[in-house]
Symmetry: C4
Subunit: 205 residues, 4 copies
C-alpha cells in the first residue's frame, strides 16, 4: 500500500466516524526525507470519497512536484512545520465536535492538561497513566504563514507534546509513521471526548 492509498483509506474511515466532515481535515505522509517529499491531500477534497487521485506530492517549500492537477491543502505550511519541527513521518488533522468545542472552552488558558488517564499510554513514549499531557491551543487564523510560524514555535517550546488544537478548528497530531499518527488520532479523540463529558458531569471539575 502506498502512503497515498493508506491516507485515502484512513480518510474515508475518519469521515465515517464524523472526524472530517465536508472537506474539513487534511493528511500528509513523508515519502522521502532528503530532499523532503510529502504526499498531501489536495485542497477541497471530499474526505468521504477520498482516493489516491486527491493526493499531491510536494517538496519542502510546498511546491507541487510532477504534473498533478489541483492545489495542495491550504494548510500545507502547517504540515511542513510539523514534519520539520517534530521530525514527524505523518501528520493528521481532524476536525471533530469534541476537539472543536474544547479548543474554544480552554482558549483563555492557552491549552489544558489531560492527566491520569490510562489511555494516555497509547501516545508514543508514554509509559504510565500518571503522565501529564499538555494540549496547547493556537488561535485560529487564515494567515497560513503566521499560523505555521506559531505551530513551529509551539512545538519548539513544548517538545514533549503529541498534538495541539486550533481554536474552533480541531486537532493536529502526528507520528513517526502513519500507523502511529493514526493511533494518536484515535487516542486523542477518545481523551477529548472523555474530558469533555467528564466536565459536563461536574462543571466545576
Amino acid at each position: 500500500m502506498t502512503p497515498s492509498e493508506h491516507l485515502a483509506e484512513l480518510g474515508r474511515d475518519f469521515y465515517r466516524r464524523g472526524w472530517v466532515l465536508g472537506t474539513s481535515g487534511n493528511f500528509s505522509a513523508v515519502i522521502q526525507r532528503e530532499p523532503l517529499r510529502l504526499a498531501i491531500t489536495a485542497s477541497s477534497a471530499d474526505k468521504g470519497r477520498l482516493t489516491i487521485e486527491h493526493f499531491l506530492e510536494i517538496d519542502a517549500n510546498g511546491n507541487v512536484l510532477g504534473t498533478s492537477p489541483g492545489r495542495p491543502s491550504a494548510e500545507t505550511l502547517l504540515h511542513l512545520a510539523v514534519v520539520r519541527t517534530a521530525r514527524a513521518g505523518a501528520v493528521l488533522h481532524t476536525h471533530s465536535v469534541w476537539s472543536t468545542i474544547l479548543s474554544d472552552y480552554h482558549i483563555g488558558h492557552g491549552g489544558f492538561f489531560i492527566e491520569g488517564y490510562e489511555m494516555l499510554k497509547g501516545l508514543d513514549g508514554v509509559k504510565t497513566h500518571e503522565h501529564r499531557e499538555w494540549i496547547p491551543i493556537l488561535e485560529n487564523s487564515q494567515d497560513m504563514n503566521a499560523l505555521a510560524a506559531e505551530t513551529s514555535r509551539t512545538l519548539e517550546e513544548n517538545p514533549a507534546i503529541h498534538g495541539f488544537l486550533i481554536r474552533r478548528h480541531g486537532l493536529y497530531t502526528w507520528g513517526k509513521d502513519l500507523t502511529e499518527a493514526a493511533r494518536h488520532v484515535e487516542i486523542l479523540e477518545f481523551l477529548l471526548e472523555s474530558v469533555g463529558r467528564r466536565h459536563m458531569m461536574e462543571p466545576q471539575y
Copy 2:
C-alpha cells in the same frame, strides 16, 4: 446519475445518520429552469428505503407532471420558495435532534449566530472562520402557504444565509447544485451539534 437517483442515495445516507427518521425530511433538485421543473420526494416516503420511485416531477406551481402516482411532499411550497428566492438548484430539509432542540431553545430571539468556526468555510462563499452566520428560526405551522410566504420573506431579508430552522422541525438548506446542498447539510449539522454541546459545557455561554 439522474437527480432522483442522487437524491435517493443521499436520502438513504441521511437516514442512516439519523437526520431523516421515519418519513421526516424532504429533498428536491431543479431539473430545468425555464419553465421550472423540480424533482421532489413524494409525501410520506420512508427515507431509509428511498428509491427513484419515491420522486415526482412538478412545475413552478407544485403541480405534478406526467403520470407519477402519489402526491408531492406537503412542504413542496417551501421548496419552491427557496428555489425561487435563493436561486437554488437543490433544496434539502433534514430533521436531526440537534436542529430540533436548537430551533426551540433560540426561538425567543428569532434565530442565532454561528461565528468563529473554521467549519463555516464549508458554506458557499465563506472565506474565513471570522464569518458571522445568522440562522433564522421560523415558527412552525401547518399552513403551507403561510410558511412558504414566511420562507420567502426570510430569504429576502437575509440574502446571505445558507439555511434556516423551523421550530422543533429541523433544518432547510440548499445549494447551486445537489453536491453543494449536501455539503451544506453536513456542515450545518456539524455546527449545530458543536454549538449545542458547547452550550452544554457552559450554560451561560
Copy 3:
C-alpha cells in the same frame, strides 16, 4: 416475508441502533385475529442474532401452539394486553438509554407530555405538531399479571396514546401493523432523545 421474518429483521436493526442490547426488548405481531394467534420472541433471545427460530406462536392466553421449543417472552402478557386493549396488529418493546432515563426522571408525575414537535406527525392519526402526546410511565414489576393489568388500565384510561414507558425499563409502542409499529419506535425514540437533550440544555425547562 412472514411476520417472524419481518420481526427478526427489525430486531437485528434495532439491536444495531442500541435499542435492544443483550436479551432486552421483545416483539410480537398478530398472525390471525379470531381466534387470536400471535408470533412473539422467545424468552432470552439475543436480539443481535435474531432469526425466525427465536419466534413462537401463541394463543390469546399465552399458550404456545405447535411444537416450538422454548418459552415465550416473560412479557407475553403485556403484549396480549396491548393487542387486546389497543387493537394493535404488532407490539414492539425497545429498551434504549433515553427511554430508560426519562422513565426514571418523570416517574413522580406518572408520565410527561411531548408537545409542539413536528415529528409527532409520524404517529398514527396525528395531523399537526400542535398535538399534545401523553407518555404514561408505569412502575416496573416482576409480577407480570399485575403489570399486564396496569397496562390494560393505562390504555383504557388513555385511549389516544401511542406508547408508554415502564420505569427504568424502556418503551412499549404498537401499530395496526408491523410497519406502523416500527415507525412509531423510530418516531418515539427520536422524540425521547430530543426532549432529553432539550432538558439538558436548560434544566429548568
Copy 4:
C-alpha cells in the same frame, strides 16, 4: 470456532463500538482448567484488526506456552486473578468513555450502586430489577502485582459483583463462558451510559 477466533471477532466488534480504541482493552478465555490454560490477547494488539495471530496461550503463572511470538497483555495478572477468584471462564476488559468518566467521578466512594434497572437482569443470576449491583472502583496502577492483588481482594470481599472499574481505565467483567462475558459487557456498558446520562439530567441525583 476456537476461543481465539471468538475473542478476535468480539474484539473487532467492540472496537467498532468504541469500547477498545487504539490498543486498549484485552480479552481472555479459559481453554482448560486443570492445569489452567488461558488464551489471551498479545500486548499492544490493535483491537480493530484483531485476528487469532494476536492471541497467546499461557499457564496459571502467565508463562507463554509453545512458540507463540509476542508477549501476553500487560494486564495478564489481572485476568488470572479474575479467573481464579471468580471462577470465570472468560474475562473481558473494555475501555469506553462512560466507564472511564464514571470510574473517575465516583472514586471518592470506592464505587457506586446501580439499582432498579430492568437491564440488571442481563447479569448472571439476577432475577429482578430490584437488585442492587455494587460497582467497585480500583485506583489505577502500573504495578501489576499490586493491581492483581487488589483485584483478588475486591472479588473476595464482593463475591456477588459482575464487574469492576479501574480509575480512568475502564471496565473488567467476566462470565462462566465467553457468551456470558460478552453479554455482561453489553449490559454493563448500557447501564454505565444510562446512569451517566441520568446524572447529567439532574446533577444532584
